[in-house]
């Protein structure tokens, strides 16, 4: 897991009610499927946390758009693993 994601996960557990991401399997459903951990309200909070931590660590301002999230085939929030890959691409891009 990269540093941005680790910090965002720690903050999410501290700030979002009923959410525990720290011991979650990298391939467990995060958002979008029936038993996913995040509902849409929590997802928006988590996105703000990620954008905030991304800026703090890289100095780059990113905006995660709704279009990227609603994409069924390539939603970065499907699992922690897809999210990590997405953040790596954002940092390299």
């Amino acid at each position: 897991m990269n540093e941005i994601l680790n910090r965002a996960i720690k903050r999410a557990d501290e700030e979002i009610s009923g959410v525990k991401l720290q011991n979650l399997s990298p391939d467990a459903a995060l958002f979008g499927e029936g038993k996913a951990i995040l509902d849409s309200l929590n997802l928006v909070t988590f996105i703000f946390i990620i954008e905030d931590e991304f800026l703090k660590i890289t100095g780059k301002k990113i905006k995660i758009s709704a279009q990227e999230i609603v994409s069924k085939s390539d939603c970065p929030f499907r699992t922690l693993r897809t999210l990590e890959a997405y953040l790596r691409r954002k940092n390299e891009g």
Binding site: I16, S17, T45, F48, S65
Partner: protein, 389 residues
């Protein structure tokens, strides 16, 4: 048509000149110094108003201050222009008022003060009303100076015999945070508040300082001036209109009033009908009203709607918070995302963990903010109201 514009912040100069211009049947508008001294702004103003010749009145020195003014304004076809503050709605609007209607209103009522503080600037409707009321009744206005700071107002409360204090609920909280005590309120008979939703916790704190002091819920807008209201004595965040003076009704949750001081003209807007739609959403308790917010401030999260002031009231129930301001922005996923800006003296990381438990216990899931910003002090607008934009 000639419109005389004046610099409102030189209040010792402009108050008398403003009144004398009205007596001479001019149309007058006061502007803050930064706008008055900006030639580009004046040019834009002239274009926006269309049909008015904007004439800046540059005053080199005060006119004689011992010249007593006895206005006979109720016969003069004079008027003044004010702007709505633009803290809510689609932005500032230009509103033309007939001075005579206001003079008549004050002539037909008892003075609400012997000495008051000019808290609202004279380019606002509340500031102009104070000035006209004082002139009609020959009562005294204390000028607080160019910048309104809580410490300055607390000093004036100790040194001047202010019997009527009209401020915003936001500033009421700021005074409490700066040490407002019973001693400061010794001469104050009436503490009036309005312009934005009030927070019950703050009103209770004020009442505890001086239980015999009248808490008065004022209601007014730039478009219609201050209306006649009666405040609920046990729950001062509720009020009703004095229907003998200003009939009011609630239409689809929104407040409408009939006023004796309707706008002569609102620029770029159709003249309203007999009932003026205030745009304020109200909550009813019997025949008492409570302002919950502007209809265009409503927040819609995943289809569930609420007003910023309702969420602010919930946050204010927690004693670790000095002030809370709720703002929202459009969000493609959930309709609106919500941010709360909290002023507190508690350490940042400590308050975040405490806030989570507080929100879980007190705030419904759909109202919980997606973003929490911790501030060292409250953010207020130029009109000393909550800054929502």
């Amino acid at each position: 048509m000639k419109l005389v514009v004046m610099e409102s912040e030189r209040s010792e100069v402009t108050s008398e000149r403003f009144l004398s211009l009205l007596q001479k049947e001019f149309l007058v508008m006061m502007l803050p110094s930064r706008e008055f001294q900006d030639e580009d702004f004046l040019e834009q103003l002239e274009k926006k108003l269309g049909g008015f010749d904007v004439w800046p009145l540059r005053l080199e020195r005060p006119i004689s201050t011992d010249k007593k003014i006895h206005p006979d304004l109720d016969k003069a076809p004079a008027g003044f222009l004010v702007r709505s503050s633009g803290t809510s709605g689609t932005g500032p609007k230009m509103i033309v008022h007939e001075a005579a209607l206001f003079v008549r209103k004050f002539s037909n009522s008892r003075p609400s003060f012997q000495t008051t503080l000019n808290f609202f600037p004279p380019d606002s409707i509340a500031g102009i009303e104070t000035l006209l009321e004082s002139t009609v009744h020959g009562t005294k206005i204390i000028q607080p100076g160019k910048e309104i700071l809580p410490s300055r107002i607390l000093d004036l409360l100790l040194t001047e015999k202010i019997d009527y204090l009209h401020i915003t609920p936001t500033f009421m909280n700021m005074l409490l945070l700066h040490g407002l005590s019973e001693k400061h309120l010794e001469s104050v008979k009436t503490l009036a508040f309005g312009s934005e939703p009030s927070q019950p916790r703050i009103l209770d704190q004020i009442r505890n300082l001086k239980p015999e002091m009248e808490l008065r819920h004022n209601y007014g807008m730039s478009e219609i001036g201050l209306q006649a209201t009666i405040t609920n004595p046990s729950r001062p965040s509720y009020f009703k209109f004095d229907h003998d003076v200003n009939p009011a009704r609630v239409n689809g949750g929104l407040l409408e009033v009939k006023t004796h001081t309707p706008p002569f003209k609102i620029m770029d807007t159709l003249h309203p009908g007999e009932w003026f739609p205030t745009g304020d959403q109200v909550e009813l308790s019997g025949d008492w009203l409570k302002i919950t917010g502007r209809s265009d401030d409503i927040i819609n999260v995943a289809g569930k709607k609420f007003f910023p002031s309702v969420l602010e009231d919930l946050f204010m129930e927690w004693e670790g918070i000095q002030d809370a301001t709720v703002v929202s922005e459009p969000n493609e996923l959930i309709g609106n995302s919500v941010t709360v800006r909290i002023s507190t003296s508690t350490q940042d990381d400590l308050i975040r963990s405490q806030l989570k438990s507080f929100m879980e216990a007190k705030i419904p899931a759909y109202m919980r903010p997606q973003r929490i910003e911790i501030l060292k002090s409250s953010e207020v607008s130029a009109r000393l109201k909550k800054k929502r934009r």
